[in-house]
């Protein structure tokens, strides 16, 4: 069912938080309990996990970590009303935690209560201005709200429009949230002493582990660190492509975008065929120098994501067209890109790159 598949990526996000919080909180005393519960969740044994977490909470009803896990379990058990109750209380008791807001938003969005989802995400961002996941989700919710507004404005058949938008949203989430999550606070990622105009002040990032490991202090750090496994999971997914021949091309695009995002210049250049022509009469060498400067030496994080490409394979050449989203400190852009590939052995290499 489309609805379920839509929210799967989000649940993955929810799980990620479970890990993250445990990193932050697992004190020696609690060590046996929480990892057990997390393992049960991971194994899909939600009923047992719920039992355990209730046990755990019976002695520490205020414990944020336990309540958070309970919220996740209830979500997995498809008890959204109960899950909303847990996360709402948690956000009331710990208004400075972004995660409960984010997960509330996911649950609200699941129930098509996009206004509530928006409010929750805006709260998450208010508490943590550099919180990437919340931004991604918020963008998603804005798009949904826009779509609802258009439905009302234009008397569209809401059902049809929504289905189309949902599919588009899945792509957005898969392609962008993973990358976004990896983003460490900009300050940390930019070792360059050069006076880079860092857009995110991210005072949070500077917070050193405080002596008293309170819930509040540790969560932000955990939030930044945690999503890594998710990102790994996400990047493994090739862009969905139907024909068998297309899969390899899709994989080539994914590797290329990943190399670019990770500033892995070796892998990036390896994505291009020897016959690649940089255009504007530039030599390959000059082009490589320019790209190295723009990508490899660029301070701050780069994120290159793209929407599902249209791929056509014709013998040993293939053409892929897609919408590319490029984000780097101080620069966000979206453009249509066309890559022409040539087959070289088992690999597809870029022969031509056109942006518009």
């Amino acid at each position: 069912m489309t609805t379920l598949s839509l929210f799967q990526p989000r649940f993955r996000t929810l799980r990620a938080f479970a890990f993250c919080l445990s990193i932050g909180f697992a004190g020696p005393v609690l060590a046996d309990n929480l990892p057990d519960i997390q393992r049960l969740i991971k194994q899909g044994q939600h009923a047992q996990a719920l039992e355990k977490v209730d046990q755990y909470l019976s002695s520490r009803p205020k414990d944020a970590q336990g309540r958070f896990l309970k919220g996740l379990i209830l979500t997995e058990l498809n008890r959204p009303a109960d899950a909303i109750g847990v996360f709402t209380k948690l956000s009331e008791d710990y208004p400075e935690l972004p995660e409960p807001y984010n997960n509330l938003a996911v649950l609200y969005a699941q129930q098509k209560q996009y206004d509530k989802a928006r409010t929750a995400l805006e709260m998450a961002i208010r508490t943590h201005p550099s919180y990437a996941i919340a931004y991604e989700n918020l963008g998603d919710v804005y798009a949904k709200l826009a779509s609802q507004a258009y439905d009302k404005a234009l008397q569209l058949d809401g059902a049809n429009a929504t289905t189309q938008n949902k599919l588009a949203l899945i792509r957005d989430l898969v392609s962008t949230s993973g990358k976004g999550n990896v983003r460490p606070p900009v300050v940390a990622a930019a070792p360059a002493p050069a006076p880079v105009p860092a857009p995110a002040p991210a005072p949070v990032a500077a917070a050193k582990p405080t002596p008293t490991a309170t819930v509040v202090a540790t969560t932000p750090g955990a939030a930044a660190a945690a999503p890594t496994p998710v990102a790994a999971a996400e990047t493994k997914r090739p862009a969905p492509a139907k024909a068998a021949g297309n899969d390899d091309v899709a994989q080539a695009i994914a590797s290329w975008a990943q190399a670019w995002s990770q500033k892995d210049m070796k892998a990036y250049f390896a994505a291009y065929a020897n016959s690649f022509e940089p255009g504007k009469g530039a030599s390959r060498k000059a082009w490589e120098a320019e790209r190295s400067q723009r990508i490899g030496e660029r301070p701050g994080k780069i994120s290159v994501t793209y929407e599902e490409p249209t791929i056509s394979v014709d013998g040993n050449t293939a053409t892929a067209r897609f919408r590319q989203h490029y984000k780097a400190p101080g620069l966000n852009s979206s453009s249509w890109k066309t890559l022409v590939f040539v087959r070289s052995g088992s690999k597809w290499l870029i022969q031509e790159e056109k942006a518009r």
Partner: protein
């Protein structure tokens, strides 16, 4: 801050939209109204009077009060100033008051979508039916135009020559501007029309100048309200009420114009407002606007003059025209009393026809009747004179006629249509009203 960056990509596209909507008065010379106005200095000075002009700072946005136009202007102002958050707040406040305001939903959609990706035009919804977006865009333009261009204080619609004392208000509609103007009969100033308010209206899908049944056009002419159907159970389409007008009137019938059932009415419940061209010929107001004017509408009395583009006169020119027309009517009355049939008939067009008589038959009857008269007294009360909009030079004169003579007394309400022939006004139709 990151959120800034998220917003920025959307700005360029939206700014284009706004300038297209916001600065449209600069394009005004493209439309025939203004061209005509430019050729005719007295009128162009009167119209349009740009309230707050494009170059002067727009008025402070009104959050809670204010007409939908004022609030739209506030929203577009914020968009222009790149205050998209504020613009969204204002739009949401507007929607709170009018949850079915489709235009506001469209703007809201654009403002939200601009937060996620660049948008290139007004109504950037993917796969949106172009026609419906165009409808809402047209509504936005008409409403903003209506807000910006108010009639100047020293001008009046040419059509309101003279209202009878008990006609408290007159409705004048400009179909090109999608605007209804409400005028008060200012008796303390000699019955000068005084501007009260103006409202956005919807007209027929295919515009104005109705000719035939089912042509989906709004008639042009001088009409009056004939009924108040507000207390009856009306279909939802008519919203908060309906006021039929007397289309086709005597002149329409004479011109062979067909159709019927032209009403001023409210708006169906699923929308706050309808596009400029959307009805089957009726003039449609929002329910709140209909409620605002309903107490001013008098059944059988209130004139409803529909024009494709209102002609405006300075008060001086209006007073002169009124005096001249009153003089013309007075001469006709006096010539009737004179029993000089030739002088009397000189007020009638050769094209005259009424009550099954052509001019020759009418002239013959008058001659024979006048032969038996020793004296005639004619008194006109409750005189109203309205100029008919449109190409023909035509005035509609209505009065209570008290006719007395040596052998016959008669009281009636009479309506005449006078046309301009060879530089003189002549009666082309008269009959009981």
């Amino acid at each position: 801050m990151r959120i800034r960056k998220l917003l920025l990509p959307g700005l360029t596209g939206l700014a284009v939209v706004v300038s297209a909507l916001y600065f449209f008065p600069r394009e005004k010379h493209a439309d025939p109204v203004s061209q005509a106005a430019a050729q005719n200095p007295p009128i162009s000075q009167i119209w349009p009077d740009h309230g707050p002009s494009a170059s002067s700072p727009p008025p402070a946005p009104e959050l809670v009060d204010g007409s939908p136009e004022a609030r739209l202007v506030g929203i577009f102002h914020e968009i222009e100033q790149r205050n998209l958050n504020r613009a969204l707040e204002l739009t949401e406040a507007l929607l709170q008051q009018h949850p079915n305001y489709r235009l506001a939903h469209l703007i809201k959609g654009d403002l939200l979508l601009a937060r996620t990706r660049p948008i290139e035009n007004f109504g950037a919804a993917q796969g949106a039916p172009a026609e419906r977006v165009a409808d809402l865009r047209a509504e936005a333009l008409k409403r903003l135009q209506g807000y910006r261009e108010k009639p100047a204080a020293n001008s009046v619609p040419r059509y309101l020559v003279q209202m009878r004392p008990d006609q408290r208000y007159a409705v004048v509609i400009d179909t090109q501007r999608s605007r209804l103007y409400l005028y008060e009969n200012d008796l303390q100033n000699g019955g000068r029309p005084r501007f009260v308010a103006d409202y956005y209206v919807t007209q027929g899908k295919l515009g104005a100048d109705k000719l035939a049944e089912g042509d989906k056009k709004t008639p042009i002419g001088v009409y009056h309200v004939t009924a108040d159907l507000s207390r009856q159970k009306l279909p939802d389409l008519y919203g908060n009420g309906a006021f039929p007008i007397n289309y086709p009137n005597e002149w329409d019938r004479r011109q062979g114009r067909g159709g019927s059932g032209i009403w001023l009415h409210g708006t169906q419940s699923d929308t706050f407002s309808r596009p400029p061209l959307a009805s089957d010929g009726c003039v449609v107001l929002t329910n709140q606007d209909l409620d605002a004017i309903r107490s001013n509408l008098q059944v059988g009395l209130t004139p409803v003059i529909i024009s494709d583009s209102i002609e405006w006169l300075s008060l001086d020119d209006w007073a002169k025209e009124r005096e001249a027309l009153n003089q013309t009517i007075e001469t006709w009355r006096a010539d009737w009393e004179s029993r000089d049939t030739a002088r009397y008939l000189n007020h009638y067009s050769r094209q005259f026809s009424a009550g099954g008589q052509n001019f020759a038959q009418f002239a013959e009857q008058k001659r024979s009747v006048n032969a038996g008269k020793e004296w005639i007294k004619v008194r006109l009360d409750n005189l109203s004179v309205f100029r008919n909009p449109g190409k023909e030079e035509l005035i509609v004169v209505t009065f209570d006629q008290d006719y007395r003579s040596n052998n016959l007394n008669n009281r009636m309400k009479k309506r005449q249509y006078w046309v301009r022939e060879g530089g003189r006004w002549k009666i082309i139709y008269e009959g009981a009203a």
